[in-house]
Symmetry: C2
Subunit: 356 residues, 2 copies
């Protein structure tokens, strides 16, 4: 069962950095009911890899990636809000991307997909609003890559959202984050199975994708959390083997499990496009009062989107006359805290949404 | 010209975790003069990859990795001290390791090299002292991996050094550091050119080694330093290319340059052995007063060997009755600060060595 719906993009759709898409679409899911005045929509963009299926619903009861945040009485309270979650343009869960068929050739786009920018993902979300007849969202919200997208959305579509919530996002990646993503991409590019993008769907560059995901997992969490969870514990039943370089520590087993799931779920070319788009995003100034109010949330232990970057976002919003609050949470889970430290994120986001 | 000298290991040499080496040796270099009483030696162990050539000398005027620290009037003052720097057992710059010929076969050891432990590297340094007729070093000192080795040295050879200096070291790696090294090793292991360790010397797994080094370089520095040095600057002359995943940002060019140097200099199998030895090292208690005094230096921005690990070393030393000072420096260069922030490291180490 799927709760997935689709919104068409303008046809042809002009990409931010050049090139066009024909017959492109964006996948999304919704929770709650759109009010008759169409004034209760919360538009959510995701991080790099999740699908639009952020939470269970009658139409799709399978677990979502933000089940604890979206639902009746939860922070994104579906008794009040109409929550829309968008699969990023360029991703591989229903939205058009490098793994989609190019209508001009009938073959997958692969590297013929035009260059992807964070701004294009924002446009994809805007197209979803238009397809639903929503002129203005109450709030546009996004974590991680989605935190970049909401800023691009405010810039490209001033007034199209009343409020903005950036969660562990960035207005322009720091060189440390670029360096990490560069190594992740290179792990894929150097995998012989990548074949310059021309791998068969059932023979993806698993080795490179797994390495990229392992490195991602390392940077998504924090040293302190892993000390608590894993310490120097070994994988149960895995004896110390002389001269073995196989995983032996608990933390290595955790990385293996995370990578194994990802390799089966995500497309390598989409990963490359989305990853590079994050590097290249560089917001620039916002239009005056592009949104009315904003909340910027960061996490003290986030090494990928660190607190100083959150303060920079607030400064950019304030220069545009936007009342912007900053919350830097003491969660130990690093960049991924929004997926894990639900009490703190529920409180911060819920309070903001409930206030006028 | 080489200033390299060699000390034989006991023959056969029993490795800490089993297995033996025959005809093994350790390479070292020295600066300054050994006093008639043989009481002025400083024994230095290195980080993972440097050779024993830490500084210029008449016999080898090529640049060393710690030129600014070793010499007349410098922190390791060669007018007073006889400085000995050891190439780690298991490395590939003169000491016996996986890239050395196995006398039993006449072929390289490769993965037939016995399992390597940090304790074996300590024994290699002890053998150098013995070959020079030095019963007791004044000070044993080491940065990074060498900071692990000096603790193992104090444990295995109580009384063989009067003082100890651990620089950005560890008494047992945290899961965050293990995770990063695990990914570095996997990049090598998954490179088809690695060939299960049986690559030809002129056809090493360059891709895997380069990825490992890039990731290492990322973790050896800090986000703050790179923000200052690189920001979001582009590689000069490298235009933005649509759909290119080639290096484009200045930080990516820096990683490329670092990796290119490393790939030509270091042996992949040696890297795997030394890296795994760092993961597995877990000090345990020290003998009472194994050294008289100790200095533990860490760096606030070091994400690989962070300050809490430095405090743990001090606690272990104090439990053994060793007077141990702790200095946590505010350098922005992260783990590698000992190579770069010479003023601060000179002051901390020089003051300690000059005191009784």
């Amino acid at each position: 069962m799927s709760a997935r719906r689709y919104a068409p993009l303008p046809d042809p759709f002009a990409m931010h950095l050049g090139g066009t898409l024909k017959g492109a679409r964006v996948a999304f899911e919704t929770w709650g009911s759109l009010a008759p005045a169409k004034d209760n929509a919360i538009l959510v963009f995701t991080g790099l890899s999740p699908p639009a299926h952020a939470a269970r619903s009658p139409a799709d009861p399978s677990p979502g990636w933000w089940d604890a945040m979206i639902g009746p009485g939860l922070a994104l309270d579906t008794d009040r809000w109409f929550v829309i979650v968008v699969n990023s343009l360029g991703s591989c869960f229903g939205s058009t991307g490098p793994a989609s068929d190019n209508p001009a050739t009938g073959e997958r786009y692969r590297l013929d997909f035009p260059e992807l920018a964070i701004e294009d993902i924002a446009s994809g979300g805007h197209a979803v609003l238009q397809s639903l007849g929503i002129e203005r969202a109450d709030t546009v919200l996004g974590p991680s890559l989605g935190g970049m997208v909401v800023l691009a959305f405010a810039q490209r579509f001033p007034g199209a959202a009343r409020r903005l919530v950036s969660v562990s996002g960035s207005q322009g990646a720091a060189p440390f984050a670029i360096a990490l993503r560069s190594v992740q991409r290179e792990a894929i590019l150097r995998d012989p199975a990548w074949r310059n993008g021309h791998y068969a769907p059932d023979a993806p560059p698993r080795t490179g994708l797994a390495l990229a995901r392992k490195l991602g997992t390392i940077t998504y969490r924090s040293a302190g959390e892993w000390q608590q969870r894993f310490g120097r514990g070994r994988i149960p039943g895995r004896a110390h083997a002389a001269n073995s370089f196989a995983p032996e520590f608990g933390i290595e087993g955790y990385l293996e499990a995370q990578a194994a799931k990802f390799v089966e779920a995500f497309d390598a070319n989409c990963y490359l496009y989305l990853s590079r788009a994050m590097d290249r995003f560089d917001l620039g100034p916002l239009a005056a009062r592009c949104v009315e109010r904003a909340l910027v949330i960061g996490v003290e232990t986030d090494i990928l989107f660190p607190p100083d970057g959150q303060r920079a976002i607030v400064a950019t919003l304030e220069r545009a006359g936007v009342a912007a609050g900053l919350v830097v949470l003491p969660s130990i889970e690093g960049h991924d805290a929004f997926l894990v430290d639900i009490p703190r994120f529920s409180a911060a986001i819920g309070d903001f949404l409930r206030a006028d």
